[in-house]
Symmetry: C2
Subunit: 178 residues, 2 copies
DNA sequence: CATAAACTATGAAGTAGTAGACAGGTCAAG
DNA sequence: CTTGACCTGTCTACTACTTCATAGTTTATG
Protein backbone atom coordinates (compact mmCIF):
# COMPACT_ATOMS: atom_id res chain seq x y z
CA UNK A 1 0.00 0.00 0.00
CA UNK A 2 1.36 3.38 -1.01
CA UNK A 3 0.21 6.95 -0.59
CA UNK A 4 0.37 9.25 -3.58
CA UNK A 5 3.65 10.79 -2.46
CA UNK A 6 5.34 7.43 -2.06
CA UNK A 7 4.16 6.29 -5.45
CA UNK A 8 5.32 9.52 -7.04
CA UNK A 9 8.79 9.15 -5.57
CA UNK A 10 9.23 5.58 -6.77
CA UNK A 11 7.68 6.03 -10.19
CA UNK A 12 9.50 9.10 -11.50
CA UNK A 13 6.20 10.85 -12.00
CA UNK A 14 5.26 13.92 -10.01
CA UNK A 15 2.45 13.94 -7.49
CA UNK A 16 0.70 16.49 -9.69
CA UNK A 17 0.82 14.14 -12.61
CA UNK A 18 -0.69 11.29 -10.60
CA UNK A 19 -3.44 13.64 -9.40
CA UNK A 20 -4.04 14.65 -12.99
CA UNK A 21 -4.19 11.06 -14.21
CA UNK A 22 -6.74 10.36 -11.50
CA UNK A 23 -8.80 13.39 -12.44
CA UNK A 24 -9.06 12.32 -16.08
CA UNK A 25 -9.82 8.73 -15.11
CA UNK A 26 -6.67 7.31 -16.66
CA UNK A 27 -5.14 5.98 -13.47
CA UNK A 28 -7.08 6.00 -10.22
CA UNK A 29 -6.11 4.48 -6.90
CA UNK A 30 -7.87 1.26 -6.01
CA UNK A 31 -8.87 2.61 -2.61
CA UNK A 32 -8.99 5.44 -0.09
CA UNK A 33 -7.85 5.51 3.51
CA UNK A 34 -10.08 6.46 6.43
CA UNK A 35 -8.91 10.04 6.03
CA UNK A 36 -9.72 9.97 2.33
CA UNK A 37 -6.09 9.63 1.22
CA UNK A 38 -5.55 7.77 -2.04
CA UNK A 39 -4.13 4.29 -1.50
CA UNK A 40 -2.30 2.48 -4.28
CA UNK A 41 -1.55 -1.25 -4.40
CA UNK A 42 1.18 -3.14 -6.21
CA UNK A 43 -1.33 -4.00 -8.89
CA UNK A 44 -1.86 -0.26 -9.37
CA UNK A 45 1.90 0.13 -9.70
CA UNK A 46 1.97 -2.46 -12.45
CA UNK A 47 -0.79 -0.62 -14.27
CA UNK A 48 1.13 2.62 -13.93
CA UNK A 49 4.23 1.04 -15.40
CA UNK A 50 2.20 -0.05 -18.43
CA UNK A 51 1.02 3.52 -18.81
CA UNK A 52 4.60 4.79 -18.61
CA UNK A 53 5.64 2.35 -21.28
CA UNK A 54 2.99 3.65 -23.63
CA UNK A 55 3.90 7.18 -22.74
CA UNK A 56 7.44 6.55 -23.90
CA UNK A 57 6.01 6.03 -27.38
CA UNK A 58 4.41 9.47 -27.29
CA UNK A 59 0.87 8.14 -27.53
CA UNK A 60 -1.72 10.59 -26.23
CA UNK A 61 -3.17 9.94 -22.80
CA UNK A 62 -6.53 9.46 -24.45
CA UNK A 63 -5.16 6.68 -26.66
CA UNK A 64 -3.37 5.12 -23.71
CA UNK A 65 -6.62 5.17 -21.78
CA UNK A 66 -8.39 3.39 -24.62
CA UNK A 67 -5.70 0.71 -24.76
CA UNK A 68 -5.76 0.14 -21.02
CA UNK A 69 -9.53 -0.31 -21.02
CA UNK A 70 -9.48 -3.12 -23.57
CA UNK A 71 -7.84 -6.33 -22.47
CA UNK A 72 -5.41 -8.09 -24.72
CA UNK A 73 -4.13 -4.73 -25.91
CA UNK A 74 -6.35 -5.02 -28.92
CA UNK A 75 -5.90 -2.10 -31.30
CA UNK A 76 -2.45 -1.29 -30.00
CA UNK A 77 -0.57 -2.08 -33.18
CA UNK A 78 -2.49 0.23 -35.52
CA UNK A 79 -2.21 2.99 -32.94
CA UNK A 80 1.56 2.58 -32.81
CA UNK A 81 1.77 2.55 -36.59
CA UNK A 82 -0.19 5.78 -36.68
CA UNK A 83 2.18 7.16 -34.08
CA UNK A 84 5.20 6.22 -36.21
CA UNK A 85 3.71 8.22 -39.07
CA UNK A 86 3.08 11.16 -36.78
CA UNK A 87 6.65 10.97 -35.51
CA UNK A 88 8.02 11.13 -39.03
CA UNK A 89 5.93 14.20 -39.72
CA UNK A 90 6.94 15.88 -36.47
CA UNK A 91 10.62 15.20 -36.96
CA UNK A 92 10.38 16.47 -40.52
CA UNK A 93 8.81 19.70 -39.27
CA UNK A 94 11.58 20.23 -36.73
CA UNK A 95 14.21 19.45 -39.35
CA UNK A 96 12.77 22.08 -41.62
CA UNK A 97 13.01 24.57 -38.75
CA UNK A 98 16.66 23.65 -38.31
CA UNK A 99 17.43 24.21 -41.96
CA UNK A 100 15.50 27.45 -42.01
CA UNK A 101 17.48 28.83 -39.10
CA UNK A 102 20.76 27.76 -40.65
CA UNK A 103 19.74 29.53 -43.85
CA UNK A 104 18.95 32.70 -41.92
CA UNK A 105 22.35 32.54 -40.27
CA UNK A 106 24.07 32.09 -43.61
CA UNK A 107 22.53 35.26 -44.96
CA UNK A 108 23.59 37.10 -41.85
CA UNK A 109 27.10 36.02 -41.04
CA UNK A 110 29.13 32.93 -41.78
CA UNK A 111 28.28 30.35 -39.18
CA UNK A 112 31.54 29.10 -37.79
CA UNK A 113 30.76 25.44 -37.38
CA UNK A 114 28.30 23.11 -38.99
CA UNK A 115 25.58 22.06 -36.57
CA UNK A 116 23.20 20.68 -39.14
CA UNK A 117 24.28 18.57 -42.09
CA UNK A 118 23.20 19.53 -45.56
CA UNK A 119 23.59 17.87 -48.93
CA UNK A 120 26.95 19.44 -49.70
CA UNK A 121 28.57 18.52 -46.40
CA UNK A 122 27.24 15.00 -46.67
CA UNK A 123 28.62 14.40 -50.13
CA UNK A 124 31.96 15.80 -49.07
CA UNK A 125 31.95 13.39 -46.17
CA UNK A 126 31.23 10.37 -48.33
CA UNK A 127 33.89 11.44 -50.80
CA UNK A 128 36.50 11.77 -48.09
CA UNK A 129 35.65 8.29 -46.94
CA UNK A 130 36.30 7.03 -50.43
CA UNK A 131 32.88 6.82 -52.05
CA UNK A 132 32.81 8.18 -55.60
CA UNK A 133 29.64 9.03 -57.47
CA UNK A 134 29.08 5.50 -58.71
CA UNK A 135 29.41 4.10 -55.22
CA UNK A 136 27.03 6.73 -53.91
CA UNK A 137 24.48 5.71 -56.53
CA UNK A 138 24.77 2.15 -55.41
CA UNK A 139 24.41 3.28 -51.81
CA UNK A 140 21.19 5.14 -52.66
CA UNK A 141 19.84 2.13 -54.51
CA UNK A 142 20.52 -0.14 -51.56
CA UNK A 143 19.06 2.36 -49.11
CA UNK A 144 15.91 2.60 -51.21
CA UNK A 145 15.59 -1.17 -51.42
CA UNK A 146 16.21 -1.77 -47.73
CA UNK A 147 14.17 1.03 -46.18
CA UNK A 148 12.35 3.39 -48.54
CA UNK A 149 10.72 5.42 -45.78
CA UNK A 150 13.98 5.87 -43.93
CA UNK A 151 15.64 6.86 -47.21
CA UNK A 152 13.01 9.55 -47.72
CA UNK A 153 13.47 10.79 -44.15
CA UNK A 154 17.22 10.83 -44.50
CA UNK A 155 17.22 12.86 -47.69
CA UNK A 156 14.75 15.34 -46.27
CA UNK A 157 16.88 15.59 -43.14
CA UNK A 158 19.67 16.94 -45.36
CA UNK A 159 17.35 19.75 -46.38
CA UNK A 160 16.91 18.46 -49.90
CA UNK A 161 13.67 19.75 -51.42
CA UNK A 162 10.85 17.24 -51.67
CA UNK A 163 10.90 17.25 -55.46
CA UNK A 164 14.57 16.49 -55.65
CA UNK A 165 14.12 13.75 -53.08
CA UNK A 166 11.52 12.18 -55.32
CA UNK A 167 13.95 12.31 -58.25
CA UNK A 168 16.77 10.73 -56.31
CA UNK A 169 14.53 7.96 -55.07
CA UNK A 170 13.16 7.30 -58.52
CA UNK A 171 16.66 7.04 -59.87
CA UNK A 172 17.58 4.77 -56.96
CA UNK A 173 14.80 2.42 -57.96
CA UNK A 174 16.33 2.07 -61.40
CA UNK A 175 14.93 5.08 -63.20
CA UNK A 176 17.07 7.11 -65.51
CA UNK A 177 18.78 10.20 -64.06
CA UNK A 178 16.47 13.14 -64.84
CA UNK B 1 -7.11 48.14 -45.89
CA UNK B 2 -8.11 44.60 -45.00
CA UNK B 3 -10.56 43.03 -42.59
CA UNK B 4 -9.41 40.12 -40.49
CA UNK B 5 -10.98 37.57 -42.82
CA UNK B 6 -9.27 39.00 -45.88
CA UNK B 7 -5.92 39.07 -44.14
CA UNK B 8 -6.38 35.50 -42.94
CA UNK B 9 -7.10 34.28 -46.44
CA UNK B 10 -4.07 35.96 -47.99
CA UNK B 11 -1.62 35.16 -45.20
CA UNK B 12 -2.16 31.42 -44.71
CA UNK B 13 -2.99 32.02 -41.07
CA UNK B 14 -6.41 31.28 -39.66
CA UNK B 15 -8.73 33.96 -38.37
CA UNK B 16 -8.44 32.38 -34.91
CA UNK B 17 -4.69 32.76 -35.01
CA UNK B 18 -4.88 36.43 -35.93
CA UNK B 19 -7.40 36.98 -33.15
CA UNK B 20 -5.08 35.23 -30.71
CA UNK B 21 -2.08 37.25 -31.84
CA UNK B 22 -4.11 40.38 -31.23
CA UNK B 23 -5.23 39.20 -27.81
CA UNK B 24 -1.66 38.62 -26.62
CA UNK B 25 -0.47 41.90 -28.11
CA UNK B 26 1.84 40.29 -30.64
CA UNK B 27 0.11 41.58 -33.74
CA UNK B 28 -2.71 44.09 -33.46
CA UNK B 29 -4.52 45.89 -36.27
CA UNK B 30 -3.57 49.52 -36.71
CA UNK B 31 -7.21 50.57 -36.61
CA UNK B 32 -10.87 49.74 -36.20
CA UNK B 33 -13.76 50.45 -38.52
CA UNK B 34 -16.91 52.36 -37.52
CA UNK B 35 -18.50 49.01 -36.69
CA UNK B 36 -15.51 48.04 -34.52
CA UNK B 37 -14.09 45.65 -37.12
CA UNK B 38 -10.29 45.27 -37.09
CA UNK B 39 -8.67 47.05 -40.05
CA UNK B 40 -5.21 46.04 -41.23
CA UNK B 41 -2.91 48.07 -43.50
CA UNK B 42 -0.13 46.97 -45.82
CA UNK B 43 2.36 47.94 -43.15
CA UNK B 44 0.58 45.51 -40.84
CA UNK B 45 0.92 42.85 -43.51
CA UNK B 46 4.66 43.40 -43.65
CA UNK B 47 4.88 43.07 -39.90
CA UNK B 48 2.90 39.86 -40.07
CA UNK B 49 5.25 38.43 -42.66
CA UNK B 50 8.18 39.10 -40.34
CA UNK B 51 6.33 37.25 -37.62
CA UNK B 52 5.70 34.32 -39.96
CA UNK B 53 9.38 34.19 -40.82
CA UNK B 54 10.31 33.90 -37.17
CA UNK B 55 7.58 31.36 -36.64
CA UNK B 56 9.15 29.14 -39.26
CA UNK B 57 12.11 28.83 -36.92
CA UNK B 58 9.85 27.56 -34.15
CA UNK B 59 10.60 30.47 -31.84
CA UNK B 60 7.91 30.95 -29.20
CA UNK B 61 5.44 33.77 -29.73
CA UNK B 62 6.82 35.40 -26.61
CA UNK B 63 10.34 35.47 -28.07
CA UNK B 64 9.01 36.71 -31.40
CA UNK B 65 7.21 39.50 -29.58
CA UNK B 66 10.41 40.52 -27.86
CA UNK B 67 12.30 40.61 -31.15
CA UNK B 68 9.62 42.66 -32.88
CA UNK B 69 9.64 45.24 -30.10
CA UNK B 70 13.37 45.96 -30.44
CA UNK B 71 14.46 47.53 -33.68
CA UNK B 72 17.51 46.23 -35.47
CA UNK B 73 16.58 42.70 -34.44
CA UNK B 74 19.00 42.96 -31.58
CA UNK B 75 19.21 39.73 -29.62
CA UNK B 76 17.94 37.63 -32.48
CA UNK B 77 21.08 35.59 -33.01
CA UNK B 78 21.42 34.23 -29.45
CA UNK B 79 17.72 33.37 -29.50
CA UNK B 80 18.15 31.39 -32.69
CA UNK B 81 21.18 29.61 -31.29
CA UNK B 82 19.16 28.66 -28.24
CA UNK B 83 16.43 27.44 -30.56
CA UNK B 84 18.91 25.26 -32.45
CA UNK B 85 19.84 23.59 -29.18
CA UNK B 86 16.20 23.10 -28.33
CA UNK B 87 15.54 21.59 -31.73
CA UNK B 88 18.31 19.06 -31.24
CA UNK B 89 16.81 18.05 -27.93
CA UNK B 90 13.30 17.81 -29.33
CA UNK B 91 14.35 15.75 -32.31
CA UNK B 92 16.34 13.48 -30.05
CA UNK B 93 13.26 12.92 -27.88
CA UNK B 94 11.10 12.06 -30.88
CA UNK B 95 13.69 9.70 -32.26
CA UNK B 96 13.91 7.89 -28.98
CA UNK B 97 10.15 7.40 -29.24
CA UNK B 98 10.62 5.98 -32.73
CA UNK B 99 13.22 3.50 -31.58
CA UNK B 100 11.15 2.54 -28.57
CA UNK B 101 8.13 1.74 -30.74
CA UNK B 102 10.24 -0.24 -33.17
CA UNK B 103 11.61 -2.22 -30.24
CA UNK B 104 8.08 -2.94 -29.00
CA UNK B 105 7.12 -4.13 -32.46
CA UNK B 106 10.12 -6.40 -32.60
CA UNK B 107 9.12 -8.13 -29.38
CA UNK B 108 5.63 -8.54 -30.71
CA UNK B 109 5.95 -9.62 -34.29
CA UNK B 110 8.58 -9.21 -36.95
CA UNK B 111 8.09 -5.84 -38.58
CA UNK B 112 8.05 -6.39 -42.29
CA UNK B 113 9.93 -3.36 -43.47
CA UNK B 114 12.42 -1.05 -41.86
CA UNK B 115 10.95 2.36 -41.19
CA UNK B 116 13.66 3.58 -38.86
CA UNK B 117 17.32 2.95 -39.41
CA UNK B 118 19.40 1.42 -36.66
CA UNK B 119 23.10 0.76 -36.28
CA UNK B 120 23.01 -2.67 -37.91
CA UNK B 121 21.08 -1.57 -40.98
CA UNK B 122 23.35 1.40 -41.41
CA UNK B 123 26.56 -0.60 -41.29
CA UNK B 124 25.11 -3.08 -43.74
CA UNK B 125 24.30 -0.19 -46.06
CA UNK B 126 27.79 1.24 -45.93
CA UNK B 127 29.27 -2.20 -46.49
CA UNK B 128 27.14 -2.80 -49.54
CA UNK B 129 28.29 0.52 -50.92
CA UNK B 130 31.87 -0.62 -50.53
CA UNK B 131 33.04 0.87 -47.22
CA UNK B 132 35.00 -1.56 -45.08
CA UNK B 133 35.70 -0.99 -41.41
CA UNK B 134 38.82 1.09 -42.03
CA UNK B 135 36.93 3.36 -44.41
CA UNK B 136 34.10 3.69 -41.90
CA UNK B 137 36.60 4.73 -39.23
CA UNK B 138 37.91 7.39 -41.56
CA UNK B 139 34.37 8.47 -42.27
CA UNK B 140 33.66 8.85 -38.54
CA UNK B 141 36.86 10.81 -38.03
CA UNK B 142 35.98 13.19 -40.84
CA UNK B 143 32.39 13.54 -39.60
CA UNK B 144 33.67 14.37 -36.12
CA UNK B 145 36.12 16.95 -37.47
CA UNK B 146 33.62 18.61 -39.79
CA UNK B 147 30.54 18.71 -37.58
CA UNK B 148 30.82 17.23 -34.11
CA UNK B 149 27.27 18.14 -33.06
CA UNK B 150 25.79 16.66 -36.22
CA UNK B 151 27.89 13.55 -35.69
CA UNK B 152 26.45 13.15 -32.21
CA UNK B 153 22.92 13.67 -33.53
CA UNK B 154 23.44 11.20 -36.31
CA UNK B 155 24.73 8.44 -34.05
CA UNK B 156 21.89 8.96 -31.61
CA UNK B 157 19.44 8.88 -34.51
CA UNK B 158 20.57 5.31 -35.13
CA UNK B 159 19.45 4.46 -31.62
CA UNK B 160 23.00 4.00 -30.36
CA UNK B 161 23.17 4.45 -26.58
CA UNK B 162 24.69 7.71 -25.39
CA UNK B 163 27.67 5.98 -23.78
CA UNK B 164 28.56 4.14 -26.97
CA UNK B 165 28.18 7.36 -28.94
CA UNK B 166 30.71 8.97 -26.64
CA UNK B 167 33.12 6.10 -27.25
CA UNK B 168 32.75 6.26 -31.01
CA UNK B 169 33.32 9.99 -31.01
CA UNK B 170 36.33 9.71 -28.75
CA UNK B 171 37.84 7.14 -31.08
CA UNK B 172 37.00 9.36 -34.04
CA UNK B 173 39.01 12.15 -32.50
CA UNK B 174 42.06 9.92 -32.41
CA UNK B 175 41.56 7.97 -29.22
CA UNK B 176 42.48 4.33 -29.09
CA UNK B 177 39.77 1.73 -29.64
CA UNK B 178 39.71 0.06 -26.22
C1' DC C 1 0.59 15.89 24.76
C1' DA C 2 1.47 20.05 22.16
C1' DT C 3 3.64 21.81 18.33
C1' DA C 4 5.73 22.00 13.85
C1' DA C 5 7.01 19.83 9.68
C1' DA C 6 5.55 17.35 6.12
C1' DC C 7 2.12 15.28 4.16
C1' DT C 8 -2.77 15.05 2.00
C1' DA C 9 -7.29 16.80 -0.34
C1' DT C 10 -9.83 19.83 -3.55
C1' DG C 11 -10.32 23.39 -6.74
C1' DA C 12 -8.87 27.09 -9.71
C1' DA C 13 -5.88 29.06 -12.91
C1' DG C 14 -1.95 29.16 -15.85
C1' DT C 15 0.91 27.38 -20.20
C1' DA C 16 0.87 27.59 -26.45
C1' DG C 17 -1.59 27.82 -30.27
C1' DT C 18 -5.52 26.77 -32.52
C1' DA C 19 -10.48 25.36 -33.39
C1' DG C 20 -15.02 26.00 -32.76
C1' DA C 21 -19.54 27.83 -30.80
C1' DC C 22 -22.47 31.56 -30.46
C1' DA C 23 -24.76 35.95 -31.04
C1' DG C 24 -24.95 39.69 -33.63
C1' DG C 25 -23.56 42.95 -37.77
C1' DT C 26 -23.22 43.85 -43.00
C1' DC C 27 -24.53 43.47 -47.64
C1' DA C 28 -26.65 41.92 -52.09
C1' DA C 29 -30.79 40.10 -54.18
C1' DG C 30 -35.55 40.11 -54.50
C1' DC D 1 -38.11 45.63 -46.13
C1' DT D 2 -36.85 41.00 -45.61
C1' DT D 3 -34.32 36.93 -46.40
C1' DG D 4 -30.06 34.48 -46.50
C1' DA D 5 -25.17 34.28 -46.91
C1' DC D 6 -21.29 35.68 -45.02
C1' DC D 7 -18.96 38.25 -42.12
C1' DT D 8 -17.56 40.02 -37.21
C1' DG D 9 -16.55 40.02 -32.00
C1' DT D 10 -16.14 37.45 -27.76
C1' DC D 11 -15.77 33.32 -25.21
C1' DT D 12 -14.78 28.53 -24.39
C1' DA D 13 -12.37 24.05 -25.13
C1' DC D 14 -8.45 21.33 -26.10
C1' DT D 15 -3.29 18.73 -24.45
C1' DA D 16 -0.71 17.30 -20.56
C1' DC D 17 0.47 19.00 -17.25
C1' DT D 18 2.23 22.50 -13.32
C1' DT D 19 1.45 25.83 -9.80
C1' DC D 20 -0.96 27.94 -6.35
C1' DA D 21 -4.34 28.60 -2.57
C1' DT D 22 -6.71 26.81 1.19
C1' DA D 23 -7.81 23.43 4.41
C1' DG D 24 -7.40 19.12 6.78
C1' DT D 25 -4.17 14.93 8.48
C1' DT D 26 -0.27 12.34 9.89
C1' DT D 27 4.21 11.96 11.89
C1' DA D 28 8.30 13.22 14.46
C1' DT D 29 10.20 15.79 18.16
C1' DG D 30 10.57 17.91 22.69
Amino acid sequence: MYTIGQLAKTSALSRSTLLYYDSIGLFSPSGRSSSNYRTYTDADRARLEQICTYRRTGLSLRDIGRIMKTRGRQGLVPLLEKRLDELSREIRALRSQQHFIVKLFKNDRAISRIRVMDKGSWIKLLETAGLDEAARDKWHAEFERLAPEAHQDFLEALGIPVKEVALIRKYSRGGRRE
